[in-house]
Amino acid sequence: MANLTLENIFKSYADIEVIHDVTLDIADGELVVFVGPSGCGKSTLLRMIAGLEDITKGKIWIDGRVVNEVAPSKRGVAMVFQTYALYPHMSVYRNMAFGLKQAKTPAKEIDQRVRAAADVLHLTDFLQRSPRALSGGQRQRVAIGRAIVREPEVFLFDEPLSNLDAALRVQTRLEIARLHERLATTMVYVTHDQVEAMTLADRIVVLRDGKIEQQGSPMDLYERPDNSFVAQFIGSPKMNFFLPTVLAKNAPSKFKDFNPEGRVVGIRPEHLRICDGESNLVSAVLERVEQLGEYALVHLLTEDGGEFNVKMDDIPKEPKGTVLHFQAKVEHIHLFDKESGKRIPGP
């Protein structure tokens, strides 16, 4: 159990700075998800916490102790890798026991801890197997088991579900959530998948180009994104952006002091509702319908050629090329500065 603090962290490779002044406090027992597009520095940050990358500048504190110069094994962290990184030449049991053996833990205690972890992860029947003889999901559970037996202060997950198929991903995600509930240990979880971030996180940290764009609870980020990047990154399918010029003539009356100059309007696909031509906010030509079973994703083209999507429960009956009208509730309309992408306090 420990809190984790990143204090003005910088990371450079040769002359290229990839992490720029990241400061972050993670409370004891919190599950924080780092999310962002590839190359945003989220994995680098995680690896710096693990001790696998040097810290160019700044301090990392774990449980009130600066760990910059502490070896990975002495930081009280355990890491689960995307590629599982199991020792292929050792049985499941030995994989899980390896770290404890290195720490010269008594054999009896090793056995206890390995069996307890195997029990939690339903791996008891596989203990003598080699990783080669396991499925991807089982391998990832072994990797998690290897982390658990070390009883770390902080769990680090580096895109642990990326190599699993869709169904397993959902299941393993659930297992990680349960695990967090049971252990109540601090966890840092890196992913590029915003669904994982939304479902698992106590707090999401959105990163871009080595900087924190925004942090907050999943719903915070969903409802009040600080900028257009976060707005598009969180939520699926991603938020639609409109130039104010394509909005219906009466639309500006919906906003207080609306000045369309240099603004972008953002509305999520699930927040647009079909309406008549009188109360519309935006109108567009029906271009394509993707039927996904539980809902339909309707693709539309505005008159300036911009594309946007609407999530609809029912497939529109109108043929392709028909003009449809949409509106949205005021609280679902986001305004951003066109240049900086920054959120403009709401209408």
């Binding site: 002495k74 590629t83 199991l86 020792y87 290195q102």
Partner: protein
């Protein structure tokens, strides 16, 4: 007559197989001729046209057995080629580990530079090395040969091991670092087991290369630490060219390593084709 695609494929396959056989026979012929000659009398050995059918005699072998101490030379060959390989491996494994997993910007250059020393003609450093061995009292000792063997093979085995080690996923080593292994344990418990096949092939290749090494064994050894190669060389010079006896001693020099190569060929091929099939 038109051939179907299948027939054409079959024909191509047969032509390739026949070609392979021809090349293999060409390559094997000198060895076969050496073995045949070793069972001839000296007169038969120089007969024109060459004799393919004759009454074999083992008198050459008997003579060698009487005149030389074959077993001692063979033992020297074993000790120096295995010893040189072992010493080389002891240096190369940690070095290749460092280069593969903690590379610097110059790692590739260092490897190339090491390899470039193989292009240096050995005769160019013969005098200094001879004098060093002389000063240290190491002339005609197996120790000198083992050290030199280890060093001359080092660039090649390091390059091969480096390539094998790089195939080990980095995450596995990182996981072991988080698990708290020391560098020594990391090499012994993780890297060696994972690269075992590659290490074995590299060692075999090194043994074969060292067994056949001629220059340094002839220069630095004579009666005490001489290897089989030196024995063969000693047969050719002082006594003129006696083909049958020379063939017999050559056969005796080659036989152990050919058998060794035959037994370990699967591993050996893997070592020779490293990087080619991944």
């Amino acid at each position: 007559m038109m051939m179907t695609d299948r027939q054409r494929e079959l024909l191509k396959h047969r032509i390739r197989a026949a070609l392979a056989w021809v090349i293999a026979c060409l390559m094997f012929f000198p060895i076969l001729w050496m073995i045949l000659t070793s069972f001839k009398t000296e007169l038969q050995a120089i007969a024109v046209p060459p004799l393919f059918f004759f009454e074999p005699t083992i008198e050459n072998y008997v003579l060698i057995e009487e005149r030389t101490d074959y077993l001692r030379y063979a033992w020297n060959s074993v000790v120096t080629s295995f010893g040189g390989t072992l010493l080389g491996m002891l240096i190369a494994i940690p070095s290749a580990y460092a280069m593969a997993f903690n590379p610097s910007r110059r790692t590739k250059d260092i490897l190339l530079w090491m390899l470039s020393t193989k292009m240096l003609p050995a005769v160019g450093v013969m005098m200094p090395i001879y004098l060093i061995c002389q000063k240290l009292g190491l002339l005609d000792t197996r120790v000198a040969l083992i050290v030199i063997y280890a060093l001359i093979n080092l660039p090649v085995i390091m390059l091969i091991l480096f390539n094998y080690f790089r195939d080990i996923p980095k995450e596995i080593l990182e996981a072991s670092q988080i698990d708290g292994t020391s560098t020594f344990n990391e090499i012994v418990q993780i890297v060696l087991p994972l690269a075992w096949g590659g290490i074995a092939s590299t060692a075999l290749l090194s043994i074969v290369l060292l067994w056949n090494e001629a220059f340094w064994s002839i220069v630095l050894t004579s009666a005490d630490a001489g290897t089989l190669v030196a024995l063969v060389a000693s047969f050719s010079s002082p006594e003129g060219l006696f083909w049958a006896k020379l063939s017999a001693v050559s056969t005796l020099a080659c036989a152990p390593i050919i058998v060794f190569g035959w037994v370990t060929q699967k591993q050996l091929v893997q070592g020779l084709t490293f990087g080619a099939v991944k």
